[in-house]
Amino acid sequence: MADKKTLAFLLMDAPYESARTTTAFRLIDAAARRGHDVSVFCYEGAVALSFAKQAPHANTVHGRDVAQEDHPNPKDWIIALTAQAEKSGGTLTWTNCGLCVDERGVGEAVAGVGRGSPVDFWKMAEAADNTLVIPTRG
């Protein structure tokens, strides 16, 4: 694509805590579908987004079993976004802050997720056409 861009995102919110995460995933999805190259750095609670042991659950309030509920796990969204990026001719690079992973014990990430430091995010931003930091608020 002629106008292929490189975009860098920093996410900070833990899963299932904030609508900001869904908004971030929408933005990443839009970029992936357009074939842009996307780098994501997860800081603090956001490192749990890719935790491999996330599990869907049934929901008795909804009256649905596990299969019917089809509860979303962000790790599956990351896998799907990565596949979408490749399908569209782009790339999605997902990197977790290593120390943030260690202090939370969420080292088991889905395949393709890397480990890094703030310097890696700085390098992503240096290489990117634009950068968006989406921090935890409050």
């Binding site: 800081y43 703030p118 310097v119 700085w122 931003a125 240096e126 930091v133 409050g138």
Partner: protein, 128 residues
């Protein structure tokens, strides 16, 4: 290529006891160590990071003591010593009943009205 980054810090004292620092200050120290050209703008509650004499020591849960409490003004002082400019919004300082002598040395006070001009000097603005 070395983009100049302004870190705008507004959310304050977020998990500082658990982290033993402010996570954005820590992040800024890390990227500065890697060679980034960066500055910090403290606004809102975060201007309080510049107040001298803060002491977060003494917390204990059961027998588990916090032996290395955060030292936010110390972290700022060390950041300034690394050549990082740290700005504070004057109106936000005044609104909290603080006066310049309450603050550590090396902070650069600026009026709210000149913040857009400050931002214009940077390639990237990261609002935390």
């Amino acid at each position: 290529m070395n983009k100049k980054i302004l870190q705008v810090v507004e959310s304050a004292y977020r998990a500082t006891i658990e982290e033993q620092d402010d996570t954005v200050m820590w992040f800024t120290h890390a990227i500065r160590g890697g060679g980034a050209q960066t500055a910090v703008l403290l606004r809102g509650h975060a201007v309080n990071y510049g107040v001298k004499g803060q002491d977060a020591s003494g917390i204990a849960f059961g027998d588990k003591k916090q032996t290395q409490p955060p030292d936010l003004p110390g972290d700022l002082t060390r950041l300034i010593a690394k050549g990082v400019e740290v700005y504070v919004v004057e109106e936000d300082v005044e609104a909290r009943g603080l006066v310049p002598t309450d603050l550590i040395g090396g902070l650069i006070p600026i009026k709210k009205s000149v913040v857009p001009g400050l931002m214009a000097r940077f390639s990237l603005i990261w609002q935390w």
